[in-house]
Symmetry: C2
Subunit: 463 residues, 2 copies
């Protein structure tokens, strides 16, 4: 671990409040990592600015003394993008959570980047509006982190990724210069849209300090359905039906009986269907007329598109169905040791990909259980390979590296992405070449040199 | 006008089909300009490739001989972004209009960049799908041009800009290298999203040769309404009502009586309302229940939100209302000489901006009629200053340059954009600094140097 330069520490002590920089070991341990547990956190210090001006002055100092920075939001990332393992200064935005009053007419709100996702939902919800960026970690994830990772979630099929819900960004560059990109404008065709560079850049180009968010109306009544289908072809056939159904799809999720069995082992489950099925689909829809929805469901049964199904009759039943889907990650970890991947495929290629994945894994890694689930309506699969009980943990970990190459070869073959929504961070960096060409990676590096010539912004992440 | 290098011409003659390069004067005149008429077209030649490979080989030659390029789509632009006035080679994609079969399951289609917008609509419409990029010039605009200008239009309030409807791009760089960015994937968080650089770059970074488009379902029944309101405050008050109305807004357009009077002078108009009104709102909505819509309209009258209004009873009436709005541009040009601007403001600032614009113009430019209309639901105003009849054309043109600075000062003051949807091209280049900071412009230039080190891609445009 590198010590911070004396001159840097003296300047911070002179120019910032006493509680600006922490070297408290528990702060270093807390702020040095995200939800991944692969890397040991080793930041040199944690900076806790209260304003964009403080961020700007800090970054000027960091540039002067070549001190590396890790921008830090709610640290709920799953790709180690916010891990500080090399003596960096973590810049946490957690004190910058101001939310301006909601512009109800324009449907926008300006917030500081440290505002917590769920607090934004509450703040704008009072006006019948929502910022439709929604996922399990919304209670601690922050707006800046959501934007820096272009966060996804269960509502992408309805609302798109975070990128679509950002109108303006205030960004501090490594030099300390503050950029105001866009504003409360839906339309602004004035040259290269630099906002887009920072959205999804995982903190490698600058620190997002404020954002003007685009809002939309809260949805009306939602209906939640669970269906049983015999195989992946059935999942996709039902998806084709749902795309022309008498409603607006707000979620189309799937999981396998292998996932369901793990949820049963971990939790008490009230069985939603008469019998287990190899594949399940959770469908959530908006604006369905009751009779039209019933008729649509009836037609699915008549034509054998589904083998079983249920429509939640009240909020409690809807929540119980969602709990099955949302309990999978936790149940896999509680009942075994999953090795996780988050990939995307063109929807048309999902069946071919999954069949080949299964056959390759059967041949090369016999006895490995693969638990598949995910946002199938977006082509997004969460592939969880479970450690065989008889295999030593170390041996399993050694083999997952090889297995990832095997799977990513298939992802490339089927023109997919090695990271649908989690990002690259440190965890997927070695595999970036499966989804991006050498020229693309060179261009990314050159763009980084334009914005961060000394390479102090989240060094070593992504590329 | 610069002659093309001998070696370049010899290589083209040797390596490409005989009809690849045209120097026919009528081709030069046609392909050298867009819908703007300010610059005299003077390209050195027009290249008409049939494949990405031909584009790539041409650009390699252009790099070797430092020949400047103007990428060319349907040439319907309004900012002179596709004008070739300096001896450039125009690269027209008009022979590259292949459309692959529609992926109905995934809701995507792959097309070459020369495909005409309206032909894409027809192609995917057979499957109940649409690519919701829609505007008056759709009969000749091309997919590549739409993407390179991030085109807007009348449905942005419902569907967003073109940027939201592009999944994958094939782009040829100045070096001739072909990049495949993204693909048929909704989610792909693997580092900096380079697609976003090319969307809206107006041909300054590379040539878009193919695209995978995201499709959506064709809308259901649409209702079209025309309302009279006394002033701009009334336009915005009605907008606030509409945002919580029992429907989905698909268009929210406004125009003033000054525009309407010009339409009346130019065309035979069946008056839609009992009496003229200072301001009109065209509202188009989807998924309205007839009774709920009637009740909503009734409540507007009762509460005095509108002074008059009509709901189209059949497709003919709906088309007649739309014809009023869509006839404005043509009518302004037919009855006088408009100087056009396309600006955006935060919706909250529209009233203050318009009041100040009017008072400043009254004081500085007495007698100038300002015809205002536009996509007000997106904050997008088309400001048309009409030449006073008594003023000489030359004197008017000389003063509009000064007047643009006056208006753009106000745009900056109210945190707006000098170009909502038309782009910068050549026409707005001198004013870019009103919407983008010096640092932003430097960053744009540096990014251009990364992708186009010799500066041969659409030189002199945007920045």
């Amino acid at each position: 671990m590198t010590a911070l330069p004396e001159g840097f520490l003296a300047a911070v002590a002179r120019d910032f409040p006493a509680d600006f920089l922490s070297v408290d070991p528990s702060d270093l341990a807390t702020f040095g990592r995200d939800w991944t547990k692969v890397h040991e956190p080793r930041p040199a210090a944690v900076a806790l600015p209260r304003s964009t001006d403080e961020v700007s002055r800090l970054l000027k100092l960091c540039t002067a003394f070549q001190v590396p920075i890790v921008p830090s939001g709610g640290r709920t990332g799953l790709a180690a993008g916010a891990v500080a393992a090399q003596g960096e200064v973590v810049v946490s935005l957690s004190r910058m959570r101001r939310m301006n009053s909601v512009d109800v007419l324009g449907g926008t709100v300006r917030v500081q980047a440290g505002a917590v996702t769920e607090e934004v939902h509450r703040h704008v919800g009072e006006h019948g509006l929502t910022w439709p960026v929604d996922f399990a970690s919304k209670g601690s994830s922050q707006v800046g982190g959501n934007i820096a990772t272009n966060a996804g979630g269960v509502k992408v099929i309805r609302y798109g990724l975070t990128r679509q819900w950002v109108l303006g960004l205030e960004v501090v560059l490594a030099s300390g210069e503050v950029l105001e990109l866009g504003g409360a404008l839906e339309k602004n065709n004035t040259g290269i849209d630099l906002r887009q560079l920072f959205i999804g850049s995982e903190g490698t180009l600058g620190i997002i300090t404020e954002a003007t968010l685009k809002l939309t109306r809260l949805p009306g009544k939602l209906d939640v359905l669970l269906f049983a289908v015999p195989n992946l072809a059935g999942v996709l056939a039902l998806f084709k039906e749902a795309r022309t159904g008498p409603f607006v799809i707000t979620a189309y999720e799937f999981f396998t009986e292998k996932c369901m069995a793990r949820v049963r082992r971990h939790r008490s489950v009230r069985e939603p269907l008469a019998a287990p099925s190899e594949y399940y689909v959770l469908l959530e829809v908006e604006r369905a007329e009751p009779e039209a929805l019933e008729a649509w469901i009836g037609s699915l049964f008549e034509r054998g598109v589904v083998t079983d199904g249920t429509l939640a009759q009240h909020a409690g039943e809807a929540a119980a169905i969602w709990a099955l889907r949302e309990g999978i990650s936790e149940s896999l970890s509680a009942t075994g040791m999953p090795h996780k991947n988050d990939i995307a495929l063109p929807i048309q290629e999902l069946e071919g990909f999954c069949a080949e994945l299964e056959s390759v894994f059967d041949a090369r890694y016999p006895g490995w259980e693969i638990a598949l689930f995910g946002h199938i309506g977006d082509g997004n699969l969460h592939v969880n390979v479970m450690k065989p009980d008889a295999m030593e943990k170390a041996a399993f970990l050694a083999r997952t590296h090889e297995a990832d190459h095997t799977m990513f070869e298939l992802v490339r073959k089927y023109r997919g992405s090695i990271s649908a929504e989690h990002g690259i961070g440190l965890l997927k960096k070695d595999y970036l070449g499966y989804s991006r060409s050498g020229t693309e990676i060179e261009i990314m590096r050159a763009i980084k040199r334009v914005l961060d010539p000394l390479g102090i912004m989240n060094p070593g992440k992504v590329f």
